[in-house]
């Protein structure tokens, strides 16, 4: 037990060192890399934390991608028209919630199939966003500045990494804390979990299952909308058709990865943010077979760490080996096609899903028991 407690921080540190080594050999600034990972993680984090609440209430909304892209264009349009990114974010949240409520009414009131309706939401959202977005392509959104803290933000390493982000980064962190407190500590949160656990019993005790679920769905939509707006207003910042490129689906996978726990969802979002940024940066860098081997070892090390089936010694050796191989591979530049690197976020999603689902007992432990089931009051 004590060994495990000790190795946890050691392993995380080693993983970060490995990341830094990769950054350095690819000619990148690790601090800058860290900061851009944080930016890249926000859309995923916002969408995933919202979807987690929805799933905790027992509803599976597969339309995250659709709500995100609607949020992206609505945020962009509101920001450009008003000149204020704040109005953009507000508009995105409202648009996301509105679209989510279409899903809510269909699945909760009209009792349609949740899988099919979620897919419809995505297809519809992608089309509608493209339609609305036509006049906006090529425009630049109003800038969304970072909240600098005088003195502190200029500190080396710590400053750019933690203390000079925009308001949404801090908001998202606050949201994770709020969701954590809400679900674990508050009575409404407990009722929401109860509805997701056993809707028939919650109904018998007099709770309004449909109203609670509609509220959760709207919240999830607002979060997805915010996530989308962060893409178009901060991360890119520009409007492109289909710019979410599967982020909504990855957010769904992050909820599974996070085992419906807020902090693990946040960890998942940062992990995927890291993968995305890494592959983007590596597309520009020179790659060798040796390097690929090192990268493979890196992914393998992440996998072994997550499954926690490997012993501490194996993990230490793995991470040390990753760092060594990574450093060694700094020679021999041969480029490989960029497309293969672009596949990594999607492949990592699949690997993570497989790892998290393989242990059925653990996967089911925290999953809401009536997830995806149709609720109809009878009698």
């Amino acid at each position: 037990m004590t060994v495990e407690r000790l190795t946890q921080p050691v392993l995380i540190t080693l993983a970060l060192v490995a990341l830094a080594v990769f950054a350095l050999i690819s000619g990148l600034d690790p601090v800058l890399l860290g900061a851009s990972i944080i930016i890249a993680a926000q859309p995923l984090l916002l969408a995933a934390i919202g979807e987690m609440v929805v799933e905790k209430s027992g509803v599976l909304n597969l339309g995250v991608e659709g709500m995100m892209i609607i949020g992206a264009i609505a945020g962009f349009a509101f920001a450009v028209e008003s000149g204020s990114p704040w109005v953009g974010f507000l508009g995105a949240a409202l648009a996301g919630a509105a679209l989510a409520l279409v899903f809510g009414v269909l699945t909760q009131v009209l009792l349609s199939n949740q899988v099919a309706t979620g897919l419809a939401l995505t297809l519809f959202g992608l089309g509608l966003a493209a339609l609305i977005g036509q006049p906006y392509s090529g425009l630049k959104p109003p800038a969304f500045g970072s909240l600098d803290i005088p003195g502190l933000s200029d500190l080396p390493v710590v400053g750019p990494l933690f203390l000079s982000h925009d308001a949404v980064v801090y908001f998202a962190l606050g949201l994770v804390i709020a969701v954590w407190l809400f679900l674990g500590r508050s009575r409404p949160g407990m009722i929401l979990r109860a509805v997701g656990e056993n809707h028939a019993a919650a109904h018998a005790l007099g709770y309004n299952v449909i109203a609670i679920r509609l509220a959760a769905i709207a919240f999830g939509g607002a979060c997805a909308g915010l996530g989308g707006a962060y893409l178009s207003l901060v991360r890119v910042p520009q409007w492109n058709e289909g710019m979410t490129a599967g982020a909504g689906w990855i957010a769904l996978a992050i909820v599974v990865f996070g085992a419906w726990k807020p902090w693990r969802v946040m960890l998942g979002a940062y992990l995927f943010g890291g993968v995305t940024i890494l592959q983007l940066n590596l597309q520009a860098a020179n790659l060798t077979p040796l390097w690929l081997l090192a990268f493979g070892l890196f992914l393998f090390a992440i996998w072994r760490t997550l499954t926690s089936r490997a012993g501490p010694i194996e993990l230490l050796l793995l991470w040390l080996g990753t760092i060594a191989l990574g450093t060694w591979s700094a020679a021999y530049p041969i480029s490989i096609q960029a497309q293969y690197l672009s596949m990594t976020p999607y492949l990592v999603t699949i690997i993570v899903l497989v790892v998290m689902s393989a242990d059925r007992l653990r996967a089911n432990q925290n999953a809401p028991a009536s997830l995806g089931q149709v609720f109809h009051k009878s009698g």
Binding site: R187, M190, R193, A194, E197, A200, A201, A202
Partner: protein, 521 residues
């Protein structure tokens, strides 16, 4: 037959009076002008068959159903709860038949969810311990409900009600999942509450229990109040006749002589893959042809797992299951059917039958293998439909025809169809789980007779049931499943209900003593 209980008690104002409650659903009037009164401190039985309208009535009192007509008075004031919160605030508590509990949450959280404004955590767990000590309802507030036994879960439900100091406590079929010993403990608690002035509305169709516990009884049939009486002055027979509205046929006397070995189980061990499931441990027994083996036990003690292992939905280690001489341990369901082992699981909709498919399709579901209803994978629709028709005719299934959806049949009719489906295939061994659960008395009688006839004709039958009376009636030999272990079968009649109760509670020493007593007489 009808006797009046009103004259008996002293004239006090009723605590709850129900006046002319009527509630109709499409095609059925669940409650038709129902009236009765509940006195303070009274234990009042609401007696009736499945479908008599008991559940609808108590849901009306608890604010879950709005009546079409009629009114209620609680403590002299008009009472019209629009939701359960309002009913609870007015002093109504309810313990549900299918518990309204959340398995993945703690006892304390479950209790807090059933209260309109619970105190903070510490205060709540203190009052939980206090109440459980006072009424002898031991339970740990920090355990997960999913890990509790059925009896413990019921205690959680009761404590949840008691914490809100109810004036009226509604108990919906509370004993159907308890061992006889747990039933006696529950009765003690209820009598204590009644002495404190709480009125208890006790819903059941178990006549002896009502005679033992209740002060008065109101009997419902077809949604109407047909009688009200003082249970101790009645016999179980007369109560049953009021409930069913006709005389009961005496159970068929059976004197069968067991034939050859039909099914042999040799130290069967199965690990359940459900986290809340039960592992089967070292189960051994032999079933002769022409013999009915009854398996008693409280729900969730391995009945479902035993059923799955016998049906072939779970495969078991080789050389543990033998049909006659043939090892069928790793034979898949249809292979077992072809060799003559047929099963009828407990859950009718979703396991034994597909609710949204026609009776013809459902006949094909298990009939294909043994009755050859397909040719090279192509379904012989005419033959299948004739098979379904034959079941409908042979087992008196009330339905428009074989194209009707399984889900549209009443519980009793569907169960007759499903039993008929297996029996028509002339099984060598038939395993049934809860054959008459939720089935009206007439259909239940038909089903039991059909099982007896099947055994008379030489098939081996295993009846798994939680209804002891049913097992006493149909079984030749009898055993108890508790904690995944099955006791050595003994002859029915050589064992008392008390002894069975102790075995059902899983008291290993008793089980061993019993085995010692009855195996080598």
């Amino acid at each position: 037959m009808q006797c009046d209980g009103f004259a008996k008690g002293p004239r006090v104002t009723p605590l709850l009076s129900i006046n002319g409650i009527t509630k109709a659903y499409p095609g059925v009037v669940a409650n038709d002008d129902v009236s009765f009164t509940l006195m303070p401190g009274e234990i009042h039985a609401l007696l009736g068959e499945n479908g008599a309208g008991k559940s609808t009535l108590v849901k009306t009192i608890y604010g879950l159903v709005r009546p079409d007509a009629g009114s209620m008075m609680l403590g002299g004031k008009a009472f019209q709860p629009s939701n359960p919160q309002a009913a609870r605030a007015a002093g109504i508590g309810m313990v549900f038949q299918h518990f309204s509990l959340f398995e993945a949450m703690s006892v304390a959280e479950n209790i807090a969810l059933g209260m309109t404004s619970p105190p903070d955590r510490r205060e709540l767990s203190r009052s939980i311990s206090e109440t459980s000590a006072r009424y002898g309802l031991e339970v740990d507030p920090f355990r997960q409900v999913g890990d509790l036994s059925v009896g413990e879960r019921q205690r959680v439900e009761i404590i949840r009600c008691l914490l809100q100091q109810p004036r009226v406590l509604i108990m919906d079929e509370p004993t159907s999942v308890l061992t006889p010993q747990e039933v006696w403990t529950l009765f003690e608690t209820l009598r204590q509450l009644s002495a404190e002035g709480v009125a208890i509305l006790y819903i059941s169709h178990k006549l002896e229990e009502i005679r033992a516990l209740c002060d008065r009884a109101t009997i419902l049939r077809g949604g109407k109040v047909v009688a009200s009486c003082t249970p101790v002055e009645e016999t179980a027979q007369s109560l049953a006749e009021m409930m069913i509205g006709q005389s009961m046929a005496a159970p068929a006397v059976h004197n069968r002589t067991p034939g050859d070995l039909a099914l042999d189980v040799q130290s069967l061990n199965v690990k359940s893959d459900d986290p809340f499931g039960v592992d089967l441990k070292d189960i051994s027994f032999s079933l002769m042809s022409g013999q009915i083996l009854g398996v008693a036990g409280v729900a969730g003690n391995g009945q479902d797992e035993l059923m799955l292992a016998l049906s072939g939905e779970t495969l078991v280690t080789p050389e543990t299951l033998f049909l006659g001489r043939r090892d069928i341990s790793v034979a898949r369901p249809n292979e077992r059917r072809v060799s003559g082992l047929l099963c009828a699981p407990e859950e009718r909709l979703g396991h034994a039958a597909a609710p949204a498919m026609s009776l013809t399709d459902n006949a094909f579901l298990t009939g294909n293998a043994r009755e050859r209803l397909s040719w090279n994978g192509f379904i012989k629709s005419q033959v299948t439909s004739n098979f379904a028709r034959a079941i409908i005719a042979g087992f008196d299934v009330r339905t428009p025809g074989p194209t009707a959806l399984a889900g549209s049949l009443s519980g009793g009719n569907l169960q007759k169809f499903l039993m008929g489906r297996e029996i028509m295939q002339r099984p060598r061994v038939l395993v049934v789980n809860q054959p008459t659960w939720g089935v009206d008395a007439k259909a239940a009688g038909d089903i039991r007779r059909a099982l007896s006839t099947l055994a008379d004709e030489g098939a081996g039958v295993i009846v798994i049931s939680q209804d002891l009376d049913e097992l006493m009636e149909v079984a030749d030999v009898f055993s108890v499943i508790a904690g995944g272990r099955l006791s050595e079968p003994v002859k029915t009649g050589s064992i008392s209900i008390e002894e069975i109760g102790l075995m059902m509670g899983g008291d290993a020493s008793v089980t061993q003593q019993m085995e010692a007593l009855h195996v080598d007489p």
